[in-house]
Amino acid sequence: MENPILKLIDKIKPTFSKGGKLSWLHSTFEAFETFAAVPSTTTKGRTQIKDCVDLKRVMIAVVVALIPPFLFGMWNTGDQHATAFGLEWGFWLKVWFGFYKVLPLFLVSYIVGLGIEFAVAQVRGHEVNEGYLVSGFIIPMIMPIDIPLWILALSVAFAVIFGKEIFGGTGMNIWNPALLARAFVFFAYPSVISGDTIWIEGLTNATSAIDGFSGATPLAIAAEGGEAPSLLQMFIGNIPGSFGETSTIAILLGAAILIFTGVASWKIMLSTVIGALAVGFLANALAPAGSFSAYPAINHLVMGGFAFGAVYMATDPVSSAQTEVGKWIYGFSIGALCIILRLFNPGYREGMMLAILLMNTMAPIIDYCVIRPNIRRREKRAATK
């Protein structure tokens, strides 16, 4: 008990417990207590082997895994801005610029989201759910860097209230809350999330951009039949796009952390890639030359939000399929749907968001279809004996 934080917690605990002065803030206190330290409560009764890894530690692991794309995103934001406006910036200036631009997004995301979470927990007398730690981190990473802050706040509020709280909080949600926030922006304010000028900071109201400079994402360029950046460039991620989604290499680093810590399922990631490649190769084989369907299937894996979605969003342990066989079906469908949407939906090329949301909806049915035959098989076996 040498730790000063622990000492402080123990000292102020009675104030928040039953009968204490601030007992109505109990949920808030508990949230901070368990955030700072592993809870001191232990299982009562007969012994059970209990892992000290609770939901909070799992969420922290995801946040750690999100750091590589985050760091790369900071540099890329600055770099894209510098390229668009013809500025000669050094490495650190670019990173600083990206940080400076993305900080308000994170602040808004966390203040609004956690504000609602704490308020709801307080009203219901629940513990504060920690799920928003990750959602709040992901939301700014999948939004355009120039998104107006009030729209961001609105989308966060919508996602937390209608994506999560009405279903009963973390662990009960049908859809990935972060993706729901993006879907909200996409349907409510399409002009701030589509087009060529929104993916690079400052380009929307630009007056001093280099002549003829296009801020279109590689996906948009390729869909128009133009020449997209090379595979290597897209793999590294020095391209216009949402803050966190551009660099496949940084995302792969994050994927390694997720798989190593056992937080996310490698089966979902792998099957998503297989699904995308299957449809991609099929389209390549059948497509007339020159159409977007003939665009190399491999390239789809590194452009747009595919990698980010496959690693961080499709694997969300709450909204994905739970059974092992189900995970393969679920992932494969996401990958396949994503490419189908990209190729055959001229209105909106980024199919990853809608593919994941749709399969989130289907996940319980997939699980049901996997579990039912298993139960029937075991019943049969029990009956013959």
Partner: protein, 204 residues
Amino acid sequence: MAMDKKIFTTPILKSNPITVLVLGICSSLAVTVKLEPALVMAVSVTIVTGLSSFLISLIRKTIPNRIRIIVQLVVVAMFVILIQQILKAYAYDVSKQLSVYVGLIITNCIIMGRIEAFGLNEKPLPSLVDGLANGLGYGLILVIVAFIRELFGSGTLLGIQVIPQSFYEAGYMNNGLFIMPPMALILIGCFIWIQRIFQKEESK
């Protein structure tokens, strides 16, 4: 059954056809993008529910039980067609906006539901009141939903711009989600939510 105030008041809030009985959802998604068609729809449905309940109740003792549904349909269809023709004659623009949904009033579950549950067994006057009240309860939700959707989705009310131009210049945008049907569903869900909170407190 004597004329009871409750016949009129319950359907408007306590057993509202939309938020409690969850009837008539389809039309409330379709016609609530703008306030004007919603108002017209509310009035039309109120008239049809009231009058058809009244008429059925008048002839309730002569209707053979086995063919009562067909008789009800004929009566309801008659009123719907009347409304449709009146709208076409005097409010052509609105009737065009409402398109098939005026004709589809006939399939609105509230009307048949009220006839089956009330008009067939009660005297004509209470039936008329019950029908009107249910129509009003339906219309109330319809108008509130349309109000919110038009205000946030288009920035107008009854076609007149309400949100000042300076807002738009400051970066405000109309919310496209409010124009789409899902938002109507979410709004109605919110009403149900709010109503249940209050009714739970009442029943305690």
